[in-house]
Assembly symmetry: C2
Homo-oligomer: 370 residues x 2
């Protein structure tokens, strides 16, 4: 294996692939990146067996081949290289890679490429296609509502549901639920409804490595895996097994109090109130009056906060208590100048949604206070 490359392409490819390397993987070869040269394309692959990332970068190939190099050292070294032409070669017998740059050189001991697990190449029947900017936005507006606790795997995933040309992403940790609807296209669509549970981690990763110049994301499902394809990147993830709760059932139809208010002012006030809600498990109290939303929190021995915000109220005056974190999370990503807060008494879930448009809904359970 032999090629030359500029520094930036090497750094980029290694950094993208490296995101799939788990630092605590017990299999030594999985701490490595598989480098595979074919013509003038260098394909870099890493996987922790749950998630795999493949990134292809252009180089000047002169002899094909492959090797697995330790991700940590490879990445530290290429980042520190001078910005000159890098000559890369691997001795087939012992898998030692040599990088020559200017008058200097480094050698890195690798592993045989054939010991590296193969990433499956999926040929699903249905390929979905979605605009990258939209997909990114949809992912950001739901993944935060998943649970971190791996003991209930279903809640660490995002439901990916397609019906016709509508994609719905749904996430819940049982305390709150986020639902985002967007337009999706498909090739070879079978007419059946697709419903799959993608790990939030895989979705957050694809957002992180989306190149700004890439326009569309292709999404292909097989039995228990999903592939997301960008121009030069493929991300493969296992799907989560199990039955996602029936989210439609829990979304209330209508409300008794519909409050319209400025998103940014709401967020700032809740953030301040949360500073003194620490000792009471983040509980803040909302009281809805005719033209005013009052937010109160207090930490005994430390202090209190009393916030007043102008609102437009349709319906009844009411009051309710929330975990401030769950409100802050949604107000940070909702991407609308004004929101509706819909309430039905202090025991029913609240709904947050943008005033304009109908493509986002966030449900949040109240905290019962004495």
């Amino acid at each position: 294996m032999e090629f030359t490359s500029n520094k930036n392409n090497m750094v980029y490819g290694v950094q993208v692939a490296q995101r799939a390397v788990s630092p605590k993987n017990p299999l030594p070869i999985l701490s490595g990146i598989l480098m595979k040269l074919k013509n003038n394309n260098l394909c870099l692959t890493a996987t922790d067996l749950e998630l795999g990332i493949e990134c292809t970068v252009p180089v000047n190939g002169s002899s094909e081949g492959s090797v697995v190099l330790p991700a940590k050292y490879l990445s530290e070294i290429v980042r520190k290289l001078p910005d000159v032409l890098i000559e890369f070669s691997v001795e087939k017998e012992n898998n030692v890679a040599t990088l020559k740059y200017a008058q200097s050189k480094t050698t890195i001991h690798g592993y045989p490429a054939d010991e590296f697990p193969l990433l499956p190449s999926l040929d699903g029947e249905t390929t979905y296609v979605i605009k990258q900017e939209l997909f990114k936005n949809m992912i950001k507006q739901v993944t935060f509502a998943t649970a971190a606790d791996e003991n209930r795997p279903i809640f660490t995933g995002v439901l990916f549901e397609v019906e016709g040309d509508e994609l719905r992403l749904v996430a819940t940790d049982t305390h709150r639920l986020a639902l985002r609807i967007g337009a999706i296209g498909s090739h070879g669509y079978s007419g059946e409804k697709t419903s799959a549970l993608i790990p939030a981690k895989a979705l957050n990763e694809i957002v992180r490595i989306m190149p700004p110049e890439n326009e569309e994301v292709k999404i292909i499902f097989s039995n228990n895996q999903v592939v997301m394809e960008l121009d030069n990147i493929r991300l493969i993830s296992r799907l989560i097994e199990g039955q996602f709760p029936n989210y439609k059932q829990v979304i209330p139809q209508g409300c008794k109090s519909k409050i319209r208010l400025n998103t940014r002012e709401f967020l700032d006030a809740v953030e301040r109130a949360s500073l003194l809600a620490k000792d009471g498990s983040n509980v803040i109290r909302l009281a809805v009056q005719n033209h005013t939303l009052i937010i109160n929190s207090n930490s005994p021995d430390i202090g209190t906060i009393h916030e007043e915000l102008p609102i437009v109220l349709e319906g009844e005056e009411t009051q309710i208590a929330f975990n401030s974190k769950y409100l802050i999370d949604v107000l940070r990503v909702i991407d609308a100048e004004e929101v509706f807060l819909e309430l039905t008494g202090s025991l029913s879930p609240g709904i947050v949604k943008p005033v304009e448009g109908d493509n986002y809904l966030y449900l949040i359970l109240p905290v019962r206070t004495v």
Copy 2:
């Protein structure tokens, strides 16, 4: 106590003073910031009894007084305030502070001001005056060479030595030594030589809080304390007791090999070599040949690096091994396009200094290798 203030002045004052609050201080009142209003000046003070910081900001005072408020909550809250006029008042009877902003307000429970320790007001006989930019630069070029280990307190300090109009800062951790010389002025100079050991921590703090628009730093010593004054800030630190080693004795006069090379190229090469020197306690090997410096490092099982740099050599060819960290530290701060590396065989200390000027010297002990 009552005043109004804009948000930015409050945030600034609290953040500067807060740097002297130690999060693990066992005395509750020391987790607080003393706020003292006199006329239109709000003075904020914090201390961990080793280091104290006082910052004065302009406000619109209407009733004088003082209180101690918990630094953590005060700082979180003022940072989150809206950018409006803040009305600040304290109830004398119970030390509860109220901040009103727009329609909202917060209360914070405080401590009585008279329980807060007094920072000494030093009236030393000699006041030194030094340009802020120069002092900052001098501090950055020596403090990194101090030891972190509090068991040998002398080596956690920087020697501050004045003779005539020359200030020398010296730091060592016994493996390397940094010496920086600069010009200093004085008022009421007694003619005696000043020699004091200032904790590196206090010097690093004063650099961090230097306002860009401040031009001079006043430095006043008493028996066991030092005060550094900026326009609106006073930093007070205890001095370290004990005898600093005789640094002049360890600096070699002359050398057998004088190597001139580009600072940036040297730094980059040493940084790369250090990546594969990890398993051998950071040891890199330098070989000086006629026109070339060769740097080698290797980690068994991982790989090797071989770097070649162009140099101008005066004197003998030689070789030596160093801890790469000690070289990287100095090359990052030396602030000169080219440096001299002066060597006298592989067992004597090496010297790094700028090619231009005579105000900086860094000594580094070699590593003995088999």
